[in-house]
């Protein structure tokens, strides 16, 4: 039985890395789940030229808003899956039983969600920007605001996902809970790009987004962890 004794429990850092690896592997093996929000992101944006106007000047005016709103909706679509399969197969319960603080483990899970949703959306934005004639000056600001803003979307959204994971049909409810909380991100994200397009400094908007991100990283995991405990207990 010496073999069993020699197995050491993983350290906190190792557990986080294992969670991250596992989630990423699951996401990349399940490629349709990974691609669907991204395809949705592009499709929503392509509705606006059809529904509003294909005029170049007009589109370049509203491109910022469309890209941000589409990113927000695409993130919303991917949120429900964040804890769902772990809840169904019981691995979420194992996560809760871990001796390490749930706060840290939850951060690892949110981070992996951000990689497969927010980061990919950010990488995809130039395609939409070209389709919607976003002026060239807006690209750096858009990139920076998406990089700071999409982790916020994942963190805030995780609270809603954790609250609704125990429910059979959480999808619409989740959007209802989370959308009002996304407003500041939308305002400052589009604000940064708008300022850049006007030729004014946009660092202020980005700093605000960074402040919100720091606040969300410090506080949201508490709410997510508490919500997961409640969902599992109920």
């Amino acid at each position: 039985m010496s073999e069993v004794e020699s197995i050491r429990p993983p350290t906190l850092w190792q557990s986080c890395r294992m969670i991250l690896q596992r989630d990423l592997r699951l996401a990349f093996r399940n490629q349709s789940d990974l691609a669907n929000p991204l395809i949705f992101f592009v499709m929503v944006a392509s509705l606006f030229p059809l529904g509003v106007s294909p005029d170049t000047a007009f589109l370049s005016q509203i491109a910022t808003g469309i890209i941000w709103v589409a990113a927000l909706l695409a993130t919303l679509l991917s949120l429900d899956a964040m804890f769902r399969s772990d809840y169904d197969d019981g691995s979420l319960e194992q996560l809760l039983l871990s001796p390490y603080p749930l706060y840290i483990l939850v951060l690892a899970k949110v981070f992996s969600h951000w990689i497969v949703s927010g980061l990919l959306l950010t990488l995809l934005f130039p395609l939409l920007a070209v389709l919607l004639f976003l002026p060239w000056e807006g690209y750096p600001a858009m990139l920076a605001s998406l990089l700071l803003g999409t982790p916020l979307l994942s963190l805030i959204g995780a609270i809603g996902a954790a609250l609704t994971v125990g429910l059979k049909k959480g999808g619409v409810l989740l959007s209802l809970l989370i959308l009002p909380l996304y407003i500041p991100v939308l305002i400052f994200g589009t604000g940064a790009v708008g300022a850049a397009l006007n030729g004014t400094p946009y660092i202020g908007h980005l700093l605000w987004l960074a402040v919100f991100l720091v606040m969300a990283i410090t506080m949201a995991p508490f709410a997510i962890a508490a919500a997961l405990r409640i969902s599992i207990a109920g």
Partner: protein, 247 residues
């Protein structure tokens, strides 16, 4: 310090019995204050030199707008008390304040729209205050939807209390971000820190009607909470006895 009152507060039965004695007097005070404040404000206060008579909606608009926000804070605090001390009554209090708060928020938006038409020439503008009120209404809707989604009352209360607390942290952020984004609404008429800019003939009825609306809120809140207590405690002896005596 004597904490018995705090523990007593956690007992639904004690709460029900104590408030039974308060209800009549509270209703009386509410009616007196509201009638005084509103009749004075709507009929006797002088007309505004700029807005004429249309400003009189302030006697309804300001109290309901204040209440819409106070009610959310009260709801979140009740939710926190329920989460921390596991008090049944606090959970119920948080639950019953949501529909009241949502109604006040809706009324604030509605009276604002009615006031906006003659003064700004439009029912709605995407202004900071209006938008943050609309978002407050959405937060209330989310809270109520989450509360309704669970079958188990305890889980529902815990989950929605977390949401209310998250919302409470977010309210200042939402408020300041939209304020920074766009502002047309006049600055607050009443602040605690500076001298009132209103004429006393208008201010006094306004203050009376604010207190009246707060009393009305307390009355509606207690009525709903008492009903909720009876529903949730319907298996206990004292509720059965009470219902039998009534029938």
């Amino acid at each position: 310090m004597n904490w018995t009152w705090f523990h007593k507060l956690g007992s639904p039965k004690w709460f029900y019995e104590v408030t039974s004695k308060w209800m009549f007097w509270l209703a009386l005070i509410t009616v007196l204050l509201l009638v005084t404040g509103l009749v004075w404000g709507l009929a006797f206060a002088p007309a505004d030199y700029q807005q004429g008579n249309s400003y009189r909606i302030i006697f309804v608009h300001v109290p309901v707008a204040l209440l819409a926000q106070s009610c959310y804070i009260a709801m979140a605090i009740a939710g926190a008390v329920g989460l921390i001390w596991k008090m049944k009554l606090a959970d119920m209090a948080a639950k019953v304040s949501a529909p009241i708060g949502a109604s006040f928020t809706f009324l604030a938006l509605l009276t604002g729209a009615i006031w906006g038409k003659p003064t700004w020439g439009t029912w709605w503008v995407w202004d900071a205050r209006l938008t943050s009120m609309l978002l407050l209404l959405f937060l209330y809707f989310g809270y109520m939807a989450l509360q309704a989604a669970f079958d188990n009352e305890t889980t529902a209360s815990k989950a929605s209390s977390i949401l209310a607390l998250v919302g409470l942290v977010n309210i200042p952020i939402i408020k300041y971000s939209v304020e920074w984004w766009n502002t047309l609404h006049q600055p607050a008429t009443l602040t605690f820190t500076s001298k009132p800019t209103m004429a006393p003939e208008m201010l006094v009825p306004l203050l009376i009607s604010i207190v009246g609306f707060y009393c009305f809120f307390t009355l509606a809140f207690l009525m709903r909470l008492r009903a909720e207590v009876l529903i949730r405690e319907n298996r206990t002896q004292w509720v059965k006895k009470l219902v039998q005596n009534d029938v």
